[in-house]
Amino acid sequence: MLNILARSGGWLFGFLMVFVSSCPAAATTAGQVTTGAAGHPWWFWPIILFFFCLVLGILAVMAGVGGGVLYVPLVSGFFPFHIDFVRGVGLMVALAGALAAGPGLLRRNLANLRLALPVALIASTCSILGAMLGLYLSSLNPNIIQACLGMTIVGIAMLLLFSKNTEKPVVTKQDAIGLALGLTGAYWDDGARESVEWKTHRTLLGLCLFILVGLLAGMFGLGAGWANVPVLNLLMGVPLKVSVATSKFLLSITDTSAAWIYMNRGCVIPLIGVPSIVGLMLGSLIGVKILAVAKPKMIRYIVIAVLFFAGLKAIDKGFGLGLLG
């Protein structure tokens, strides 16, 4: 039953995408939307946005990606809101999701505070710089941000498609920085019925990469789970479960600093923000229930394909080519 629901979720998502993109206001570029909802009453887009985010939340959980990374390219591509507001709300969406997930992950010792703290300090500082840079570029010309966002999204889609994470990386010797910071831990693996101990290596390089991760997260209003996990897992040698959980927890810190910059600039409109946050959180809760019994791999590929399309659409919009409508 839930398998059918999961599959129909993909179709529903496709239907919503087609519906939204067929609405007149969505077909125009953000800067051109001056007549409001193109004949629609004020409540039309918030309601559509709520259901869109609800389905997005379900699919994000099933595809194993964060809500923020789907929200920004899709909503900026198919809804009539300016990219400034989409990025501001995108960060609030990612923040709310990460904050809600944090307590459970910390209690189960999957998200590791010692690992998260140094990384978060670097990423959150850089996400402030990213947010300021993003807002500056957007004030010069929003198309610059659209094009850069598009290229980043295409890159993320490729990363999701090709990167092969390692369940339990082998770290023979911990490096000096990892040792000094005490970046070690253990967790209970339910599947293997064993405790798994871990430690980090290549810690300095990993920490340096979080400069870039923070910049991108702040600049585009994306949650950065797509980048956190490969750096923690593939580079620093943290087990996949701990990487995913610590990454989710990290977002609650990284996105907070960038979200404040956008909020202080006035980029969070309640009429757009609340339906997005509530829709995505409800969707995530439903998604977790479905995921417990159904694991349709196809959903992940659909989401990656949608990301490719959204990225290309943003590039198209940014360069004003008009090839994708």
Binding site: W42, F85, I253, G266, L271, V278
Partner: protein
């Protein structure tokens, strides 16, 4: 499994405190968001920006939006809390403040343990988040 191993599997005391604070704050934030949004939509408090006019300006850049709607930036929304739309900011701010509150507890814990490295890291994070929240950086909208 030996005692040391068992101990390593347990989350630290700070992690548990952090988690407990977070869960209260998050759900308080979400509840506030939903409640204030209902107040806004029902029109119990008049909004600063006419709700039916928002679709005409949400396609514009943020600077233009603020100028047209005479909306404040930074913490300028505080005096407008009696307006239905700005009332929603309580929920947003509650969510965005949670990490700072949790970190305050962490700093205290690390100082007690004399774990100076992590006490400094946590303190610096509070400084970074507080600077971001203060509106000193990048709140010049017009």
């Amino acid at each position: 499994m030996n005692t040391q191993n068992k101990q390593a599997l347990k989350p630290s005391r700070e992690q548990i405190i952090y988690a407990n604070l977070l869960i209260i704050g998050v759900w308080a934030g979400i509840f506030t968001l939903v409640t204030t949004y209902a107040i806004y939509l029902v029109g119990i408090l008049p909004p600063h920006i006419d709700i039916s006019a928002i679709p005409q300006v949400w396609g514009k850049g943020v600077s233009e939006f603020l100028e047209i709607t005479h909306s404040p930036h930074g913490w300028g929304w505080l005096p407008l809390l009696v307006k239905g739309d700005f009332l929603n900011y309580i929920g947003f701010v509650l969510l965005a403040l949670m990490t700072i509150v949790c970190y305050l507890v962490l700093v205290r814990g690390y100082i007690r343990q004399k774990n100076w490295i992590f006490a400094v890291i946590a303190f610096l994070e509070i400084v970074v988040l507080s600077v971001a929240a203060s509106g000193i950086l990048g709140s010049g909208g017009h």
